[in-house]
């Protein structure tokens, strides 16, 4: 075996090194130095994030395939990994206060190690060219998350959430693998390319079942309706830092992996089979996510349903089925990471200081904590897609990408999505209303949040303000995808 092939996996290996260093630090450092672990991990993560942007360091210089075609990486894949890395750095910064708290003393190491393992799994999901590796990545990204959800081990909800999460995760993997076995039976291969060329536009019932199972399996992780039932409970029960990780990083990685699988494995069957499945799923996801979000009073449940509907918008980038859609999807994930993490940053700061997570507790927040309220407002506006904040641009571009497809059906889909943005605006404005307009005395006293929390919020708010107006981010993603060989899989 040619061991130089491992050089193709520079980003994965970088992450593995970080993992090992964190593990060693956690295991062998004396008690007194343990408090340094969060900062240590954050700095290391920041380093490999920076390395990922630099082609001399960790980023691939071109399209590379390794291990007999099981693994591939390219600038586009490196870009989505970098986007996830940036999100992880922000999550790590925001969680420093929480992991350094009294209750977490014994479990601090676990949080970081499990988090890095799941990230590694997501890397594999993005870069694999063979379903075996994909399944390994999927499991690697799901099972440790259940342990992370249960980290608050003295809280009842945390347990409930973990059990719910692990059961659905296992169940969805089973369904997913059922679909894969059908595919294997039909084509005799697990390689993406082989399957792609074996499935040339012949439509039979078994194939429909196979694709439906694959979509359902991944749909669980993306929490598309009707596979979303675990989402709200898990988001509510998990510790806030884990929830934010779950809602942005896990979702973003899976969305990109989903795009890769659908276009590069089942691309030939786009118009025959899965366009319509996805079409229905998107409408259901956006609409039901939005309608349920209206009634939520707990901020974490609220953001859970909002993230369900956001997943529906992200799927518009998949159904667009072109390079523009892919760029828009990646850009949407990037913006969504910043907007959602800003919201979770505020929720986490308030929860850490006072333990309050209900929307009613946010009434009149502007009077006691004006800066946190402004950050929350910007996050809500960005999620709702109000210019000049980044969310507006990401929504606009994902719609533009979808409409590029050109059929009347897509226009109708985008119209439904647009009408849904009004519903979403309503519930996002409810939060703004509670904070700014309500006359009630605020139950949250004035407090100064921790340094790390403020840093996290400054970064996310900065991102919300800059990512849209500065055209560099979207334009470079679009340039990157325009020349990517992945485009060969997009028909038309």
């Amino acid at each position: 075996m040619d061991y130089s092939q491992f050089l193709a996996m520079k980003q994965e290996i970088g992450l593995l090194v970080v993992f090992l260093l964190v593990f060693l630090y956690d295991t062998f450092m004396p008690r007194g130095a343990q408090k340094g672990l969060p900062v240590f991990t954050t700095v290391l993560m920041l380093l490999i994030t920076l390395g990922g942007f630099c082609s001399y360091c960790l980023a691939p210089s071109g399209d590379i395939s390794a291990f007999a075609g099981m693994y591939a990486t390219s600038p586009v894949m490196a870009a989505i990994k970098n986007i996830l890395n940036v999100g992880v750095v922000i999550v790590l910064i925001q969680s420093i206060k929480w992991t350094n708290s009294e209750a977490m003393t014994m479990r601090r190491g676990e949080f970081y190690e499990l988090l890095l393992v799941t990230l590694f799994g997501m890397y594999l999901m993005i870069s694999c060219r063979h379903f075996l590796l994909f399944v390994i990545g999927l499991e690697c990204a799901s099972l440790p998350l259940a342990a992370m959800v249960a980290l608050d081990k003295n809280r009842y909800e945390s347990h409930e959430a973990a059990v719910k999460y692990i059961l659905t995760a296992v169940f969805s993997s089973a369904i997913f693998m059922m679909g894969l076995s059908f595919v294997y039976g039909l084509t005799g291969s697990m390689y993406f390319n082989d399957i792609y060329f074996a499935l040339t536009a012949e439509c039979n019932t078994m194939l429909v079942m196979a694709i439906a199972f694959v979509i359902a399996g991944i749909g669980f992780k993306l929490s598309l309706v009707p596979f979303h039932l675990w989402t709200a409970d898990v988001y509510q029960g998990a510790p806030t830092s884990v929830t934010s990780y779950l809602s942005v990083i896990s979702k973003g990685a899976t969305a990109f992996a989903f795009l890769v699988v659908m276009s590069q494995v089942f691309g030939a069957l786009y118009s025959q089979i899965w366009e319509w499945m996805l079409y229905a799923l998107i409408i259901l996801t956006i609409t039901i996510g939005n309608l349920f979000a209206i009634r939520q009073r707990n901020m974490k449940r609220f953001l859970a349903f909002s993230s369900i509907s956001q997943a529906g918008y992200i799927m518009l980038g998949v159904i667009a089925y072109n390079a523009m859609g892919m760029a828009a999807l990646m850009y949407y994930v990037l913006v969504y990471i910043f907007s959602n993490l800003a919201a979770f940053g505020v929720i986490g700061a308030i929860e850490n200081a006072t333990g309050k997570v209900s929307m009613d507790d946010y009434r009149g927040l502007y009077k006691t904590n004006p800066r946190l309220s402004v950050a929350m407002m910007l996050a809500m506006f960005s999620l709702a897609g109000i210019p000049p904040f980044a969310g507006f641009f990401s929504k606009f571009f994902i719609f533009t990408g979808a409409i590029n497809h050109g059929t009347v059906a897509i226009y109708v889909l985008v119209l439904i999505a647009l009408i849904n943005t009004i519903v979403s605006l309503y519930y996002y404005l409810l939060v703004v209303k509670a904070m700014f307009i309500s006359d009630d005395e605020c139950v949250v006293p004035t407090f100064r949040s921790a340094c790390s929390e403020r840093l996290g919020l400054w970064i996310t708010v900065g991102g919300i303000l800059v990512l849209g107006i500065v055209s560099f981010f979207y334009s470079s993603l679009l340039d990157l995808t325009a020349v990517s060989p992945m485009n060969a899989f997009f028909i038309g």
Partner: protein, 508 residues
């Protein structure tokens, strides 16, 4: 980029925002607001003078002061600016109302936040009027909408939560249709083989949108902008929103923001899709015709001053859209005049109502009377605004409505003589009736509120206008009178828009 003068319409508000962020007390905030709005006013007058000077040399380009800077290059999105007579008229209107509005909110609570949102709103408005790129235009349009939610929600009165939410959601609902329409226009903007574009001038020059698509995209964009123009049946946000909004916000909203709707309908829907505009105009003629009469009738039965004025706005703004749909240069000139006239006089109305309400703490006309004896200055101003509204010659309303009805009648007769039916003619006659109804509700208010016996003796102790209130109202009254006395100047300004290029595009 900064060598283009139009950019400063956005740069100045942004500097004001930064300045407000640094302010420590109310005096500094007032200073920033006044300095900024005066600068905008001066800038718009300067642009007007320069514009007329260039036009006087025989320049016939569709737009002047054009500039274009690449923004999202792969999607051909540019930051493109340019103005013609109509945009200049709107810029002047906006800057006057922002100027007057700053004085009208002299004593507002939480001034820093209030002015931040107000200036953000004006940034959107000015940006919208200078843009010729559909994307930037739409972005500024939405920037102008969202501050309304907080301005009404925090500083409003009455059922403010309900009104603020209703207004925001309805306007954003309109912009959802608009967004789809604009993306659709983009994908059909250029003929096969040419580069797609968001630039309005280029799209109009290509004239490549297939007729079938026009019939789909025209209603999208027209309804999208029409919601903001308070077109029936999408007008219901307007009475509630205006009634709950604080004074300066009502002024800015009725005076400027509703003009975004009419301007957008003209600049995007009709200018880019003239075929569908001709084919489908009958639907919207009927709807806007209903707006005109229905709004006026509603105003007759309301007793809250702000509701009366809001419904009168529905009626007058309906007339703007009505005239634009006539596709006739006289009627369109009238429409722009009406935008100016309505903007100024409604702003004046809302300013006065705010001042009266600030003293009497009621807006019910049944609770007030004999104001002429108590606050003669404000009452006289109110009469002047009322007279402008019902179209007294010498004030702006007369000029605008006269031009509109002459133009519409011309268009209607032309249609009738060509044997294409008499819909335009019939609706012109129906819309004409609104003049009479307007007189009814204006005179009713004037008679009840200003003349007659003093209703409440507590009101006798009230004071007349302060200096900043006088400044605000005098500015607006002078403008209203200026349009009424020198209509030719405005007529010529607007006429410079109707270059041969526009006549070619619209087929007029």
């Amino acid at each position: 980029m900064f060598s283009n003068i139009l950019i400063y319409f956005v740069v100045i508000p942004v500097i004001m925002l930064a300045g407000l962020g640094l302010c420590r007390n109310i005096k500094q905030i007032r200073a920033v607001a006044v300095a900024g709005s005066t600068a905008l006013l001066a800038l718009s007058v300067y642009v007007l003078v320069e514009y007329l000077a260039i036009r006087a040399t025989g320049n016939n380009d569709p737009m002047l002061f054009t500039g274009s800077w690449s923004w999202f290059a792969p999607l051909h999105i540019n930051l493109a600016v340019g103005v013609d007579g109509i945009s200049i008229a709107m810029l002047i209107l906006s800057s006057f109302i922002v100027f007057a509005g700053s004085f009208a909110s002299w004593t507002i609570q939480q001034p820093k936040e209030f002015f931040l949102w107000l200036i953000l709103l004006s940034t959107g408005v000015f940006g919208f009027f200078i843009s010729v790129d559909l994307f930037t235009m739409f972005m500024f349009y939405e920037v102008a909408l969202i501050p309304m939610y907080l301005l009404i929600g925090v500083w409003g009165s009455g059922r403010k939560n309900y009104s603020a939410m209703k207004l925001t959601l309805m306007l954003m609902g309109g912009s959802a249709f608009l967004m789809l329409g604009l993306i659709g226009i983009y994908y059909h903007s250029a003929p096969e083989g040419s580069q797609l574009t968001w630039n309005i001038l280029e799209i109009a020059a290509y004239d490549a949108i297939p007729h079938g698509w026009q019939q789909f995209l025209f209603p999208m964009t027209f309804v999208g902008f029409g919601v903001l123009g308070a077109m029936f049946p999408f007008h219901t946000w307007s009475p509630d929103g205006h009634a709950s909004a604080p004074t300066a916000v009502s002024m800015l909203h009725a005076g400027v923001l509703m003009k975004l709707g009419g301007y957008g309908c003209f600049r995007v829907a009709i200018y880019l899709m003239p075929f569908a505009a001709k084919e489908l105009s009958f639907i919207f003629l009927i709807l806007t015709g209903i707006s005109v009469v229905y709004g006026a009738f509603c105003a007759c039965v309301k007793t809250d001053l702000k509701y009366i004025n809001a419904y009168s706005s529905v009626s007058h703004c309906g007339l703007v859209l009505f005239a634009i749909l006539m596709l006739n240069s006289t009627a369109m000139t009238g429409a722009i005049m009406q935008m100016l006239s309505h903007g100024l006089m409604t702003a004046l109305f809302f300013a006065l109502i705010g001042m009266i309400y600030g003293r009497t703490h009621t807006r019910e006309i049944t609770q007030m009377g004999g104001m002429m004896q108590i606050m003669p200055y404000l009452s006289v101003c109110y009469v002047i605004a009322g007279m402008a509204s019902l179209g007294l010659p010498g004030l702006s309303g007369f000029v605008a409505e006269m031009t509109i009805f002459v133009g519409s009648f011309k268009a209607g007769m032309a249609e009738y003589l060509a044997g294409a039916g008499s819909l335009k003619l019939v609706f012109t006659i129906i819309a004409c009736c609104s003049i009479v109804i307007t007189a009814v509700y204006i005179l009713r208010v004037v008679g009840k509120l200003l003349f007659g016996p003093v209703y409440d003796d507590h009101h006798r102790t009230l004071t007349d206008a302060t200096w900043w209130e006088r400044l605000s109202t005098v500015t607006l009254i002078l403008c209203v009178a200026a349009i009424g006395c020198f209509p030719n100047f405005f007529n010529n300004l607007i006429n410079t828009t109707f270059t041969p290029e526009i006549f070619r595009v619209l087929g007029m």
